[in-house]
């Protein structure tokens, strides 16, 4: 009895020692909230330094004629001139259209294929774990590796892709110029992005499918609902928030698509695959039109932020249903 009492007392002492009050006492009268701030401050400082400050600085620069390669030149305010030039530049509108085209098709393809794969994997057939691993491989590769790898696959003379298409269609391999043909080059990039990121969508959809309780299907079975009816009335609605989440993530990511396009086509042929991020990079770090590039970046930021917010509200509504 005495022994257990002493254990309880020791535990109580230990608990008391580890309470914030005791910690505060040790650091000479600091309050709990002060200590909390001490711990949080580095993270907040870092966040301010690498996120908030650059954003505010970019907003400021977007109203100036500043050029990063001419640091000694006088910086003058130009009002809304940079915004006006960006919004009236046909090349930028072309790049925005190209970006929208990529985002639209990659999302459609990745969602349809990703959900289908998740649905199949969720059936838990023999060897499903093995196939899941195989499907996930592209997602785990570096975009640089994927870009170079597919550049060789698309090569008209030695590329496997050209051989496969030629074998299926009878078109000579030398005529299958995926990266050099104006009409094919955008699709070449969409195919690679879909190949690489469909597994990601599949993973999220799989999580959604696994979260649906079995008893709902059991109840549907009791009600003699057909498999088709179960799919449309249970599976799709309950997995929808997850699908929408995947669409949100992929949409934001593909809006910023840069590496894959650079590696595969460099924006060509002509400017057919020049997406917004490449145009922005050229303006900022090749032309050094820092002020104008900042204005373009802010416009892109507002567009993505605004669209994402609208989308998140829709997502929340779907979740609440």
């Amino acid at each position: 009895m005495n022994i257990s009492n002493s254990i309880v007392e020791q535990a109580a002492d230990a608990t008391a020692r580890s309470t914030p009050v005791s910690v505060a006492r040790r650091v000479r009268g600091l309050s709990d909230s002060a200590i909390a701030w001490v711990f949080i401050a580095p993270a907040i400082t870092l966040l301010l330094a690498i996120n908030i400050f650059p954003l505010i600085w970019a907003i400021y620069l977007s109203f100036t004629n500043y050029r990063a390669n001419r640091p000694n030149a006088a910086v003058e305010g130009v009002g809304l001139r940079n915004y006006e030039r960006v919004l009236t530049d046909p090349d930028i509108w072309q790049a925005m259209q190209t970006t929208a085209h990529f985002v639209f098709w990659t999302i459609i393809l990745q969602t349809v294929i990703g959900f289908t794969l998740a649905y199949l994997i969720d059936r838990k057939f023999r060897g499903h774990a093995f196939w899941t691993t195989i499907i996930l491989i592209p997602m785990m590769l570096s975009p640089a590796v994927v870009g170079n790898f597919w550049r060789f696959l698309y090569e008209p003379q030695i590329g496997l892709f050209a051989y496969a298409v030629s074998w299926l269609s009878g078109i000579p391999t030398s005529d299958i110029r995926m990266l050099g043909d104006v009409s094919l080059a955008p699709w070449a990039i969409i195919i690679v992005d879909t190949w690489m990121w469909t597994p990601y969508v599949m993973l999220i959809c799989l999580a959604g499918l696994r979260s649906i309780p079995d008893y709902i299907y059991e109840a549907a079975e009791v009600d003699r609902a057909s498999a088709w009816r179960q799919f449309w009335s249970i599976t799709v609605p309950m997995a929808l928030p997850f699908i929408m989440l995947a669409v949100l993530f992929r949409g934001i990511e593909n809006f910023k698509m840069f590496d894959m396009v650079t590696l595969l086509t460099g924006g060509g042929p002509g400017s057919v695959t020049e997406v917004a991020s490449i145009t922005l990079k050229r303006a900022a770090f090749e032309s050094w039109a820092t002020g104008r590039a900042s204005a373009f970046a802010i416009i892109l930021f507002v567009a993505v932020f605004g669209l994402a917010n609208i989308y998140v509200k829709a997502l929340n509504k779907v979740k609440q249903r």
Partner: protein, 441 residues
């Protein structure tokens, strides 16, 4: 125990400091920045003599061509101290001079007796002067380079091909002298079966991302009569850049791309072009002269199998200048030592060794030496090419001007959008806007 630990810690710190301090104070080490390519390796070899003579250790910062401009222009714009010496691209001169990145070398040259007259005139204008054609020097010509051609001499010498070619075109199959001849040769070889393999006519520059297609198409444009501006009215480009001759030149380049390049040639620059040649895919290859020593040494296509020729002529005769000058970075803490390196590098015997090792010297005493033209199989083609060079804009806004040309030309030549007239009219509009932004017009 605690005291012992503290003592040990103190001792370790003291040791670390004592070993670090001499390095911090060391001023006899120079960092030279350049692109990562064969001539850079030759320079490493050459610089060993400088170290042996002066005791100054040379460090090298070499960056692949794809990142070369991004990396080093960022370094200069941020006033970085990484590079004491930089071998910067010829187009950087204007911006680097006006923005104070490079040390002006006039006084140093005067003091050390280094004369610009001793160097090939085109390289002085191209690599050293800003404003152009004025005696204001920001670099010492370091690596002469120019676009020219290599061809499969062994294929050209095959009797059956020679006969067939002569019958078809009425002249002997040989290195072409005009662009029309070049196209005929390219057409002759296009999709021809040689040693059981399908080969193609020519590899030409078509790269979109950096400067590739501009460095290719300008060769042809110049030879058709294209000029950047009215010689009498600076920055006046209407009717000059988009002259009838320039339009014909651009149409020719597109026709060459359409008729005679290997499939999948939509994004070709230096490396891809050399690869097409090395893999035995093409009869002729457009490329900068710096690739020639490596190609000549190649076991499969080099030696007796390779030939070299300068750009063909048409109405005029020009070649796109490449190459670079060596400059002292004004943010360096070791400017004096860097200047000593330039002084050493400018010496005739060092320049002669530079050529022997695979670098392309710009010093007259080297390139005009009796025996130079026969010193290497490509020496004559290099000399002939350097005599006809012309360079892209070297304005501070050259990068924007370059991007505009990349976009317009690639859109027409590779993507097949619009006409040559539209492409060059658009280019005049783009360039006019750039110069208006710069306050030059």
């Amino acid at each position: 125990m605690q005291k012992k630990s503290k003592a040990l810690l103190g001792l370790a710190s003291a040791l670390m400091l004592s070993s670090a301090l001499p390095n911090l104070a060391k001023a006899d080490e120079l960092t030279l920045c350049w692109a990562a390519w064969d001539p850079a390796n030759a320079l490493v070899e050459l610089s060993k003599d400088f170290t042996a003579k002066t005791g100054t250790t040379m460090k090298f910062e070499f960056v692949p061509w794809t990142n070369y401009a991004d990396r080093f222009l960022n370094e200069l714009n941020s006033h970085g101290k990484l590079c004491d010496l930089i071998i910067g691209d010829s187009q950087w001169i204007g911006g680097s001079a006006e923005n104070g990145h490079y040390v002006k070398l006039n006084d140093f040259f005067d003091k050390e007796g280094i004369k610009m007259d001793d160097f090939v005139p085109a390289t002085v204008v191209g690599y050293s002067e800003w404003p152009k054609n004025t005696p204001n020097y920001w670099a010492l010509p370091a690596m002469g380079d120019v676009v020219g051609w290599t061809y499969r001499k062994d294929w050209f010498e095959r009797p059956e091909l020679k006969t067939e070619f002569k019958e078809k075109y009425g002249w002997d199959l040989a290195a072409p002298k005009t662009y029309d001849q070049l196209k005929q040769v390219a057409e002759f070889f296009q999709k021809r079966e040689i040693d059981g393999k399908t080969v193609y006519g020519a590899s030409i520059y078509t790269e979109r991302g950096s400067e590739g297609i501009t460095m290719g198409v300008t060769n042809v444009l110049y030879s058709w009569g294209f000029q950047y501006e009215d010689p009498k009215k600076p920055y006046e480009m209407e009717g000059i850049v988009n002259s009838a001759e320039a339009i014909k030149g651009l149409e020719f380049y597109k026709s060459l791309y359409d008729c005679c390049t290997p499939p999948g040639s939509s994004n070709v620059y230096m490396v891809e072009s050399a690869d097409a040649f090395k893999s035995g895919q093409v009869a002729m290859q457009m490329n900068f002269a710096f690739t020639w020593p490596g190609l000549y040494k190649d076991e499969k296509v080099g030696g007796d199998k390779i030939g070299f020729f300068p750009n063909p002529a048409e109405k005029a005769h020009f070649a796109q200048l490449g190459g670079q000058g060596i400059s002292v970075v004004s943010y360096s803490d070791k400017k004096d030592a860097a200047l000593q390196y330039i002084k050493w590098f400018a010496q005739p015997d060092v320049q002669a060794k530079w050529w022997e090792l695979g670098g392309f010297s710009c010093l007259n005493s080297v390139v005009k030496a009796p025996g130079f033209a026969t010193s290497q199989p490509y020496a004559q083609a290099f000399l002939d090419s350097m005599a006809i060079v012309k360079d892209f804009w070297a304005e501070p806004s050259y990068a924007t001007l370059l991007q505009d040309m990349q976009k317009r030309v690639h859109n027409y030549v590779v993507a097949g959008n619009g006409t040559a007239q539209e492409a060059l009219d658009g280019l005049v509009e783009d360039w006019t806007e750039v110069f208006k932004d710069d306050g030059k017009i």
